[in-house]
């Protein structure tokens, strides 16, 4: 993955707008968070292959912290803390936020085919 270029990512978000797409949305601080640090909480959530159609989507932010919001007919898809992206070999838009050690903290992925 490469550092987010807001213009490039916005273009790809626009390409998926109005289409029936599959979403992978995830955030995690790992199953060992509390094991490693007694004061930490294990927190995470993911949804894989949620089917949505968004009217439009935007990427906002700067530097190493970006947010993406996708407006759907009845609600929103939202991710914060994104800093890396790629279009993979299956034409899927992968976005992720990694911490200083390269660990994934958040991911938002958009695809026309199921993950």
């Amino acid at each position: 993955m490469k550092p987010i270029d807001i213009n490039e990512v916005q273009q790809h978000i626009d390409e998926f707008a109005g289409k029936k797409v599959f979403i992978h949305l995830e955030t995690t601080n790992g199953a060992y968070a509390n094991h490693v640090n007694e004061k930490a909480y294990n927190v995470g959530a993911f949804i894989r292959n949620a089917q949505v159609t968004y009217e439009h989507g935007k990427i906002k932010g700067a530097g190493t912290a970006y947010r993406v919001g996708l407006k759907t007919e009845n609600g929103w898809v939202y991710a914060e803390g994104l800093n890396a992206w790629e279009m993979d070999d299956k034409n899927r838009l992968l976005m992720a936020g990694h911490d200083r050690e390269g660990r994934l903290m958040v991911a938002l992925e958009i695809s026309e085919t199921a993950f």
Binding site: M1, F46, R103
Partner: protein, 224 residues
């Protein structure tokens, strides 16, 4: 001497961090070892440092790492095809049946798995429970011994001292080599395990210094 050892853990790298020294010891004695690996660690958050994997490429990368580690340890590998992080939500009686199928065929004398409820990660606890359930359903005449691994904070205060303490210092090279096969995970997990700031350069030396023993509890089937 053991006849055949089966290791049952859910993630690629659990075998390297948890039991590679013990496995290497058995292999040196000529004992066949089979690793039943539950998932491909699809939901791992270590992506290499610097990052080289994505959420979508991680399973294939970890599969290759697992195969390489098994080559280093010289063990047979069977991948069970469950999905990382959601193992505990599977029908565990079916998981247990699946495991029992392997055990009935292999007829091991020893099974190594995680100690249910004392192994931190929900996948560890779930697969450990399924493995122990599978073994408990085997006829007593062919039932293998089970060594269960615990590492939850404070586990010894509750369970007492582990009765199986393997001095793995003679096999630490193989263990560290197996760990380093898991390139996407090694640095992140080693950092947690050793509490040290690791770099590409110092990782191997710190790991060689750190691992001295692997411990297990012999499961008491009479207590169920």
């Amino acid at each position: 001497m053991e006849k055949h050892v089966v290791v049952i853990f859910p993630h690629p790298d659990d075998e390297a961090f948890g039991a590679a020294g013990t496995i290497a010891k058995f292999r040196e004695e000529g004992v066949p070892v089979t690793y039943l690996c539950g998932t491909l660690g699809e939901m791992g958050r270590n992506m290499g440092n610097p990052t080289f994997a994505t959420r979508e490429s991680l399973p294939e990368i970890r599969k290759k790492e697992l195969q390489d580690a098994c080559k280093v340890m010289d063990v047979e590998l069977k991948m069970l095809g469950y999905r990382d992080k959601v193992l505990e939500f599977e029908d565990l009686s079916k998981v247990s049946e699946n495991l029992k199928g392997f055990l009935d065929e292999i007829q091991p004398s020893l099974v190594i798995t995680h100690y249910p409820e004392y192994a931190v990660h929900p996948d560890h606890n779930a697969l450990g429970a399924a493995a122990i359930d599978a073994v408990s359903k085997m006829d007593e005449s062919i039932r293998p011994t089970v060594w269960a691994q615990a590492f939850m904070r404070g586990y010894q205060e509750i369970l007492g001292k582990p009765d199986i303490v393997q001095d793995i210092r003679p096999f630490v090279k193989t263990k560290v080599k197996a760990i380093l096969c898991h390139a996407s995970q090694a640095q992140g997990v080693l950092g947690n395990v050793t509490g040290e700031q690791l770099t590409e350069e110092n990782m191997e030396a710190i790991a060689m210094e750190h691992f001295k023993e692997e411990t297990f509890y012999t499961w008491n089937f009479k207590s169920i």
